[in-house]
């Protein structure tokens, strides 16, 4: 009896604790969502002046904001594709072949993961200015590819750990050449790792602010636009865009992970 009650108190406490942590995580997001409906028009857009949908319409009149969002998407798509291709090839190549300097490349891959982003940002800034690459879309893409590659490689590598080399040999023995073997055997086997890496790369790219902040030139991304607007108070249309992005990602996740909302079978 006593033990049961104790267990009950314990699970009650667990629920309260977890609820508090989730509240902590979602509180600022609720601020964003609520303020996207705030009818206030005076800076810094904090006091509540009534409910309105206007900002969602206003948003599509705000060319600066939309083009920043467009830049973010272009950079994220291009750098995700590049990082995924380069990273996947690199992971497979480093797994299959021995060559001089492999240990060094391996070591270099950890740098963008562990080093504070600001250091990567300023080091890219200094080198871009040294070799006179004008800051803009190109430097942003180069920077994003740089910090995305390691994450793709680690994801693909995790998948390679259980990789059976003999199926490739079988394919070659049966007369397929290297290219066919790579596209029809290697890639499909590694697909989940590649997809995981690509998703992570995309997520990192669209939210990156620190590294982009040092290499953007005139090409503003959405996070940089937010950074700029923070000085004068984040306008409700920025909140509206953030709310739309949040809804889009949640919908995407629910669609791709259809078992998420279903109750899992008890094992």
């Amino acid at each position: 009896m006593k033990r049961q009650r104790k267990a009950k108190v314990k699970s009650g406490l667990s629920i309260v604790f977890c609820t508090l942590v989730y509240l902590f995580l979602f509180l600022p997001i609720s601020v964003i969502v609520v303020n996207s409906f705030n009818a206030t028009t005076s800076k810094p857009y904090l006091s509540w002046k009534g409910f309105t949908f206007d900002w969602y319409g206003e948003l599509f009149q705000n060319g600066d904001l939309l083009s920043a969002f467009g830049n973010t998407m272009i950079i994220a798509v291009i750098s995700t594709i590049l990082a995924t291709v380069i990273g996947t090839l690199g992971a497979v190549g480093m797994y299959k072949y021995k060559f001089k300097g492999k240990g060094i490349i391996d070591g270099l891959l950890y740098i963008p993961v562990v080093i504070p982003e600001i250091v990567l940002g300023i080091s890219l800034l200094t080198i871009f200015s040294k070799v006179n690459i004008p800051r803009g879309m190109l430097t942003l893409i180069l920077a994003h590819v740089t910090f995305c590659i390691p994450f793709v490689i680690f994801n693909v590598r995790a998948r390679l750990a259980g990789y059976d080399n003999s199926i490739e040999e079988a394919s070659m023995d049966l007369g397929a050449n290297r290219l066919i073997t790579f596209f029809r055997i290697t890639l499909p086997t590694l697909a989940p790792g590649i997809a995981g890496g690509a998703l992570l790369a995309f997520t990192l790219s669209i939210d990156d602010v620190i590294i982009s902040y040092f290499v953007y030139g005139q090409t503003k991304t959405y996070p940089l636009k937010v950074m700029e607007s923070i000085k004068s108070g984040v306008a409700p249309d920025v909140n509206a865009l953030s709310t739309l992005i949040l809804i889009a990602t949640v919908v995407l996740v629910v669609l791709t992970q259809s078992d998420l909302l279903k109750k899992h079978k008890k094992d």
Binding site: P28, L89, I118, T126, I210, I230, I245, V253, H264, K265
Partner: protein, 290 residues
């Protein structure tokens, strides 16, 4: 078995195609830029703040000024407090969701990640809206007549730590979740069957088996914290400058790149030392990336 010359040659081209691009990227965009930063930290500037390649120790001499030392100390304190807070909140939380028998376990896990798909700046700004002098809490307190004057919650070291914990806590929760989920439940039963009190089970079984998660989580929280200049900008209001803010200023408004480079070298050295320590404690580098 030695490979024939022919075989080695046949492997060179595919190996080159596969490893070439990543090598190029890592060398040109990681190694060389960092080496260049190290070189620059010994350079001088002219009257117009242009970098001049004249060897000097002056940048490093400036690093030991009292003002800067205070900022390093503050950075370490904030990063340490952030890491400790992340462990205190993250460990029990990860434990509960990793070991829950609830059928919505996956949803509970995803709910940790979802907030991080919203732009981090705007979420930090959300805290400012919430805590500011005309923010939600103050409005509530005033309308309930609990306080007459708005309370200044913002721009203390504490609010910067709050923002850092908020930004970085998933990097603590996720590795802990992985480590705790791997824990074999029968070990815990065995321990309690053999008469161990819950505390003993925790310190002798659970903690040693999940410490890897604490180590990798701490690395992933402590190091980035030193460089997240925007959190102390937005929530600390310039009162809680950290080393990241110092670096940012040298490369933007201050425009003294060699000094900024020398400051960055401090961060690189701290990172290397911590990673070495992590490896010494048996930490696995692979678990930092995913």
């Amino acid at each position: 078995m030695k490979k024939s010359k022919h075989e080695i040659k046949a492997n060179t081209i595919p190996a080159f195609i596969m490893v070439g691009p990543v090598t190029l990227c890592m060398v040109l965009l990681v190694a060389i830029p960092l080496i260049y930063v190290a070189v620059m930290s010994f350079c001088s500037i002219d009257d117009y703040y242009n970098v001049v390649f004249k060897f000097t120790f002056a940048n490093y001499e400036r690093l030991v000024s009292l003002d800067y030392l205070k900022i390093y100390a503050r950075s370490l304190v904030i990063a340490l407090m952030t890491t400790v807070m992340c462990i205190i909140i993250g460990y029990p939380f990860a434990y509960i969701i990793a070991r829950t028998k609830s059928r919505r376990k996956k949803l509970l896990y995803m709910l940790v990640i979802i907030p991080f798909w919203t732009n981090s700046l705007i979420r930090i700004y959300g805290w400012r809206t919430f805590l500011g002098t005309n923010g939600w809490i103050n409005n509530l307190l005033q309308s309930l007549h609990i306080v007459n004057e708005p309370v200044d919650f913002l721009f203390h070291q504490g609010t910067t730590v709050l923002g850092m914990v908020y930004c970085l806590i998933p990097f603590m929760i996720l590795p802990l979740y992985t480590a705790i989920e791997k824990l074999d439940g029968s070990l815990l039963e065995a321990s309690s069957d053999l008469g161990a009190k819950p505390a003993a089970t925790f310190f002798k079984i659970i903690f040693p088996l999940t410490s890897s998660g604490i180590f990798s989580g701490s690395i992933m929280v402590f190091i980035p914290c030193l460089g997240y200049f925007f959190v102390s900008d937005i929530l600390g209001g310039g009162n809680t400058d950290m080393i990241g803010n110092l670096i940012e200023r040298q490369f933007q408004s201050g425009n003294n790149w060699p000094l900024g480079a020398a400051l960055s070298i401090i961060l690189i050295v701290v990172t290397l030392l911590l990673v070495k320590l992590y490896q010494k404690l048996g930490g696995d580098m692979e678990s930092l990336g995913v």
